[in-house]
Amino acid sequence: MSELVEVVVRGLGTGSVYALLALGFVVIYRATRVISFAQPAFMVAGAAAVSYLSVEIGYVLAVPVAVLIGAGLALAVERTTIRPMIGKPVFVIAIITLGVDVVVRVFVNALIGADVRQLGDPWGLETVALLGVAVQQRFVASFVVTGLVVAALFAFLRLTRYGLAMRAVALDQEASMAQGVSVGKVFALSWALAGGLAAVAGAFVGTGSGIDQTTYIVAFAALPAIILGGIDSIGGAVVGGLGVGLVQSLVAAYQPDVAPWLGSNFQVVTPYLLMLAVLLVRPYGLFGTPEVERV
């Protein structure tokens, strides 16, 4: 029982990172109908920024600065490579983001270096008692912070003018343009938001264990999460992210005993198997909008 609680907390903690990344994917998708493959690069950029800044100004201050850096980076990418491509097929833009990912990661990897870098977070591997079970603080922290970020995002979308504009553009780009919404601003805002969310995810991805040059692979697990939740559903991204984290952590805990023939590190690929299974039944995800196409 105590092991199960620990596994669930671990799953929700890593799932929060996926949820944050998935939110970034969904925000960009809703505005531009493009899946941005550059999110992993923004995540490691945020993580690298935190690892350098936390030495100077402490982890708590480093995270907001890293978020600003991530948002600025995403904004710059949007301006230089995505804006000229408006109106081109989404596939082409998606491949451009793949190129952006490669380019940004070259620089981030140079910053990270060959070894593991610590983020300088206050939690490390310390534990806290929860329901009488010792669970790691870092997972609780990432879950709580993600909850706050998601609440803030929902409030932003629901209560502010720009949030309204973003929802309008997601619904119908041309109609919102006709109503005076600046679609270009919404694109930029979406990319900046996604960059910032990815940076928050980066701040939590390496807590305790540190980051290295292969950390970016983690971010790809957020892709099954958005497909699971439905690619245009913000709530679905959160559910999908947490679900993927939970399944991964459960598999990591029990698969070596139950089915050792599946190999070590099998939990890394479970999100993709989960995604394949869900897609065969519901091609638009759990909460996504079914696509209706006219000729």
Partner: protein, 392 residues
């Protein structure tokens, strides 16, 4: 008077192409003028194309006499990569199904060939059949069957959903290759590649006339020509036109009577077949592959080949594949030209970083500035000289 004038003018012009006497004949000095549809669809529909292709193949045959083994190996790898790139171009460029899973099929082909040709008494699985056509075709068929397994997803999903799913395929494949060490040898260990033997004659040993590398080079060149002609024939057939219809507007194509399920599945199977053959040959040419190397980076490299070469062109795929294969070698020359770039992997602007940076920048740059790739650049140069000295 005024009414008869147009008809008298029309008569001599239409006489040559009367529907009753449809004969394909080309006009001297007008290579771009086709008098029948079949003529435009021919394998080499203009004379310069026919002549140039023959000259290029002839030139390629004589390269082994002129360059060192190191460059021959690179070119051979480039030719094999071109076979894989043609496969990716068939599914992504012609049929419009975006896939990031090409590396998975390459890996399936590589290990199928290695198993079939492997030593039956070795530490890894092996059947001991070293006859080259058998293991190349078997690698293609097994990879094609894997493609058939993906096809149901491709039929249900569209656009970027499919890209994400095939991305998942790469991660799944990487895990299987790393785990199933009876076949792959396991990470860090690997296994020997397939042995290329033709009628009892081992091509990777020095022969009486040519050295081992020269034989491999000529073999890969021959296979590339075969695969390229097959692909070109496929895309100018009914199936190829169906692919293009599916790409341009799949629902409209379906309404016109193009079977979506059939053609999407077919595109995946053919593309995976090419990838499987390319994987088998790639393993043989390079000699060693770590099971972890069939990863996302390999898929991105193939996408870069297709995009940089030219989407939906066979010649473009070959150009792109050669370009991407030769790029690392060219980048290695950089430290002597640019002292800021270091060849040691621990310093910041080192050749490996410059190399991946170039992949990324070239993908972005070509997509923004020259979406038709190297092929498009060639078309521009050709049109310029066609009209020279006029601008159009």
């Amino acid at each position: 008077m005024t009414t008869t004038l147009p008809t008298s003018r029309e008569t001599p012009r239409t006489a040559g192409v009367m529907p009753t006497r449809r004969r394909s004949r080309s006009l001297r000095g007008r290579p771009g003028m086709f008098t029948s549809y079949a003529q435009e669809l021919r394998l080499f529909n203009t004379r310069p194309k026919r002549i140039w292709v023959r000259l290029i193949i002839l030139g390629a045959l004589f390269i082994p006499l002129a360059v060192t083994d190191e460059w021959l190996r690179l070119l051979a790898v480039g030719y094999v990569a071109a076979i894989g790139a043609i496969g990716l171009n068939l599914v992504t460029g012609y049929a419009g199904q975006v896939t990031l899973g090409h590396a998975f099929f390459i890996g399936v082909g590589a290990y199928t060939a290695a198993v079939i040709s492997g030593d039956p008494n070795g530490s890894t699985l092996g059947l001991g059949i070293t006859f080259l056509p058998i293991w190349v075709l078997a690698a293609g068929v097994v990879a094609g069957l894997c493609g058939l397994l993906v096809a149901p997803l491709a039929v249900r999903l569209r656009g970027l959903y499919l890209a994400v799913v095939t991305l998942g395929l790469v991660f799944l494949g990487e895990h299987i290759f790393k785990t199933w060490d009876a076949v792959t040898g396991g990470p860090g260990v690997g296994r020997p590649a397939a042995v290329p033997s033709l009628f009892g004659y081992e091509l990777d040993q020095d022969g009486p006339v040519f050295s081992a590398m020269q034989q491999m080079y000529l073999l890969m060149l021959t296979l590339l020509v075969i695969f390229a002609v097959l692909a070109r024939n496929l895309v100018r057939s009914k199936v190829g036109r169906a692919f293009a219809a599916v790409r341009d507007r799949d629902i409209a194509a379906e309404i016109m009577g193009v079977g979506l399920t059939k053609h999407k599945a077919l595109a995946f199977v053919v593309s995976s077949f090419y990838a499987g053959c390319a994987g088998a040959l790639l393993y043989t040419v390079t000699g060693f592959f770590d099971p972890g190397s069939f990863n996302l980076l390999l898929s991105v490299q193939f996408i870069a080949m297709v995009l940089i070469g030219g989407v939906a062109t066979i010649s473009g795929s070959i150009m792109g594949a050669l370009f991407i294969t030769l790029l690392p070698r060219l980048v290695q020359e950089l430290p002597s030209l640019l002292p800021a770039v270091s060849s040691s992997p621990t310093e910041f602007p080192n050749v490996f970083q410059v190399e991946s940076l170039l992949y990324g920048l070239l993908i972005i740059g070509f997509l923004i500035f020259e979406p038709r790739g190297l092929f498009g650049i060639w078309i521009r140069i050709r049109s310029y000289w066609k009209a020279w000295p006029f601008t159009y």
